[in-house]
Amino acid sequence: MKYAILIHEPKSDFAKRTGPDAPAYWAGWMAYTQAVQQAGVMVGGAGLEPPDTATTLRSTNGKRVIHDGPYADSKEQLGGFYLIEVPSLDEALDWAAKCPAAGSGSVEVRAVLPPPPSAS
């Protein structure tokens, strides 16, 4: 099964991306990504620019309403995601537990929606 590992990081983690903490921060992610790849479970994924660079759009009666910032102002924000393929939720949770953000933020695991019946 395919799973998305959604990485929710606190502000303090986003801050570590630059400055004195950056080497340690990135080393953690590099090592994790390498481990996921070497295990042969990596399907895809991406890191995301910080939430204050996000632009959120809603359409009301055909009119665009754009707002500067992420969709919700919460303590933790989406920092990136991995797509992995493993046999079951147990293995997906194992990978989530190894993710560097598990200790500082939270890691959400969701199964990827199978293609709708009409598409198959």
């Binding site: 079951s88 939720l89 147990d90 997906a92 949770l93 695991v109 969701r110 199964a111 019946p117 198959s120």
Partner: protein, 414 residues
Amino acid sequence: MGAENSNAEVEVVVRDSYGRLLAWLSTRTRDIASAEDALSGALVAALEKWPIDGVPTAPVAWLLTAARRRLLDDSRNESRRLAILQELAHLPDDSTQTEVAEFPDERIKLMLVCAHEALDPALHAALMLQTVLGLEASEIARAYVVSPTTMAQQLVRAKQKLRVAGVSFDFPGPVRLAARLPALLAAIYAAYSTSWDAGVETDHRLAELASEAVLLARFVVKALPTEPEARGLLALLLFSHASRVARFTTAGEFVPLAEQDVNLWDNTLIAEADQHLVTAAASQAPGRFQLEAAIQSAHCDRRRTGETVWEAIIQLYDALLSLEFRLGAAVSRAAAIGEANGSSAGLAALDELPLDRCRNYQPYWATRAHLLKRSGHMTEATVCFTTAIGMTEDPRVRDYLKRSLDIELRADDI
């Protein structure tokens, strides 16, 4: 063969094999809800056909074949259908011989799925009662004092999550098993405790819930005979179950353990519990349930000796608390110290507990009240009794505390 006989026959087959059939089907489809639908469809078909054609020689195999056919028909999605076909193909086709005795018992897999960490622990036991024992959501709801609709919705949602999130129904490896077993045992223990905690009006069905919990604990021991904590849990439940009759007088008055009439305890259950405890102890891996069972076993020794060896009980509580701090165990330890070394020693043990956690804990106030009463501190005891009474849900225990308070007030008058 009359319809009535067939209904009775279906009931017997269902009672013995529902959980087994559901476990077999759902571990192959990874989908509890569809397996339940298929199985209940097969049961309806049995109720229609058996009165006419007679009960088949292998009723369980008949049900399995019928349920399997339904599962295949119902899986509209072609890719899913192929996957299920492959999984279900391993069944000896249209078997007429596979009966319960030879039929693989895979209920432990289903139970471990029900206790998966991806589900709210509050739902673990409810899900087990429904899937493994075939209880209706409404019956489970009554035991847990929630509305049947709420319970049904929660169970549907839990099963949906297990399917969509892709939880594995395979028997876990040793590391995962070690991680998941405590949740499984805790869920069974919680189901049993629920049956103790409730009030008079729910008595009957809760007594049934207690028996169902014992049954679940038995399944775990049967499937995992070398897990000492599984036996510890079963022993603990059997000890508690053995004294259930002595817990209340015929007039419905609550009797605390130390004052119970030992002749009312069920000796067969106690002997069985002791046996499990001995077997578990051989593994030399003590755990919470084994120690709690050992405490119950020590209380049961009063049958033979006529007195309770409180020192031994205190030692067991010490061992229990060294594993993990539990307020309930700490309060019971203080009560035991009060018995062994006098009320002031018991009160001193209570004073060591974190007051902020004790403030809303009924056993703390009840224990404190009894210890104060015995040491002659009537005014303080009255305050504690009143607090304890105000926190008690079970009217029978409330009445017991009121009686203890009344006796004390009368003693005060003299």
